[in-house]
Amino acid sequence: MSGEKRGWQDLEIGCVVTEPGSAASYKTGDWRSERPVRDNTKCIKCGICYIYCPDAAINEDEEGYFEADLYYCKGCGVCAHECPRGVITMVEEEEEEGEK
């Protein structure tokens, strides 16, 4: 996020944010401890995962399949729970090399 490198002297008075819509840059995907992994061979493109996602983090692709946007997906697992065909499995995130 753009504010991450700012020192206290760089902040606007009252910590006002002057960039509209800046909430979109907040990487809620950082919260995730499990990621949704899909087996699209079982997918019937019903869109239930898309409807149930509480963060609107699932998008439909050109072929009509659905994929979570991992920048925002918090890994709540609602999609995996609701999928009628068992397409989605929640897989534990592992710390990547160099990550704190």
Binding site: M1, G3, E4, R6, G7, W8, Q9, L11, E12, I13, G14, C15, V16, V17, T18, P20, S22, A23, Y26
Partner: protein
């Protein structure tokens, strides 16, 4: 030099006059004893067309402050007021204007906190908001209630300040007592508090977000910036008080001194009780005791340097707290002690708690405090522990 006419006004009406002359845009407040007359008078002024402001009736103090935050964020000049338990209910919102740097101005008619239920004056309410980041000053009489309210707008809205400000007036002692108040010319007040422009206001043409979510990566930086700027307000406050004095003939200082020339003993008070303490000092001086009085006018930011300068020649400082921090003693006393710790000054400080819930402290009460304090100093020299002491409390009904 005196400019203006003397009018008999209770403290509440003096505050309302200052707010009227400040030409506020929005008032939102919930009536509570002993602040009620301020709200009533302002509502009357708005209803009668004496003041062209929006009066937002609300169901609570929490909402009153919320409405002030919103109005101030839109660039309006706003006013609210409360007392005691009302302030406790408002507490939730108190850190918002100070963190968002909105120059809300507020008057608190100081009142004790329950239980037992007390509508009378002490400073317990004031002490609950020590740390919320508002500029806080304390009036001693109705003239000061008027003057400091006028100054509060000028200070809060200064572009180098932009912090909310509180004027404390003792409930009943000031809010309900009629005194002669010099009311200056309205135009002169308007000139002293010009229109102001906040660098960021809510404006669809230039959108900003205020009071955003602050994760750990930004929160400490936000607080550092707030504290840095808050510390910087003190010279500005002094400068504005000086200008007020040059314009209206009444001068204010962060620490006010009374008969401090050659004093080795001083009392320290806040608020209306300072006037009784002055009489006690007069009597003690006549009796040959070299006593003086210090009155804290500026409570936040705490005037560390001014306080140290004021006590530099003293041997004994007797602090009266009109509030109690249970298990710790008087909050003002502990603050003045901490103000001196870094300097390791050889000064005896003895604190007393008194005047709680509207209990009067007579002139003799202050003289008794000085006598007791001198005994306490000897106790400490003997190595005995000094516990916080309450003054003017009945023992066993005798």
């Amino acid at each position: 030099m005196r400019k203006g006419k003397i009018v008999g006004l209770e403290g509440s009406f003096a505050v309302a006059e200052a707010v009227r002359m400040a030409k506020v845009d929005v008032i939102s407040a919930f009536p509570i004893t002993p602040q009620t007359h301020i709200v009533e008078r302002l509502a009357e002024m708005v209803a009668d067309g004496e003041l062209d402001a929006e009066f937002i009736c609300v169901e609570s103090e929490h909402t009153a402050m919320s409405a002030c935050v919103g109005a101030s964020a839109a660039g309006a000049r706003v006013f609210t007021c409360t007392a005691g338990p009302g302030l406790e209910y408002m507490y939730n919102m108190m850190t918002i204007p100070s963190s968002m740097r909105l120059p809300v101005v507020m008057v608190i008619a100081n009142r004790a906190l329950s239980a037992p239920l007390s509508v009378w004056c002490d400073h317990s309410d004031m002490m609950t908001i020590r740390d919320v980041g508002w500029i806080q000053m304390i009036a001693e009489n109705n003239q000061e209630a008027f003057d400091l309210t006028v100054c509060a707008y000028r200070i809060a809205e200064d572009k180098e300040v932009l912090f909310p400000a509180i004027v404390h007036i003792d409930g009943f002692y000031l809010s309900h007592v009629i005194e002669g108040v010099v009311l200056p010319d309205e135009e002169e007040v308007a000139h002293f508090i010009p229109d102001y422009e906040h660098p960021f206001v809510l404006d669809p043409e230039k959108p900003v977000s205020m009071g955003c979510y602050g994760p750990p990566f930004i929160y400490p930086e936000a607080k550092k910036a707030q504290e840095f700027d808050f510390e910087k307000t003190k010279p500005k406050i002094k400068e504005i008080w000086k200008e007020f004095g040059e314009t209206f003939g009444r001068y204010y200082a962060p620490v006010e001194k009374y008969k401090m020339e050659g004093a080795s003993i001083a009392l320290l008070t806040m608020g209306s009780i300072g006037e009784t303490a002055m009489l006690a000092v007069d009597e003690m001086r006549e009796e040959g005791r070299d006593a003086g009085l210090l009155r804290l006018r500026l409570w936040r930011p705490f005037p560390f340097k001014e306080f140290r300068d004021a006590v530099k020649d003293l041997e004994l400082l007797v602090v009266l707290d009109r509030a109690i921090s249970f298990g710790m003693g008087g909050p003002v006393c502990s603050e003045v002690k901490s103000a001196l710790y870094d300097k390791r000054k050889e000064l005896s400080i003895v604190g007393f708690i008194g005047g709680l819930g509207g209990r009067d402290i007579p002139i003799d009460g202050f003289k008794e405090m000085v006598n007791l304090a001198l005994e306490r100093v000897k106790m400490v020299e003997r190595g005995e522990e000094m516990e916080p002491e309450m003054i003017g409390v009945r023992e066993w009904g005798r």
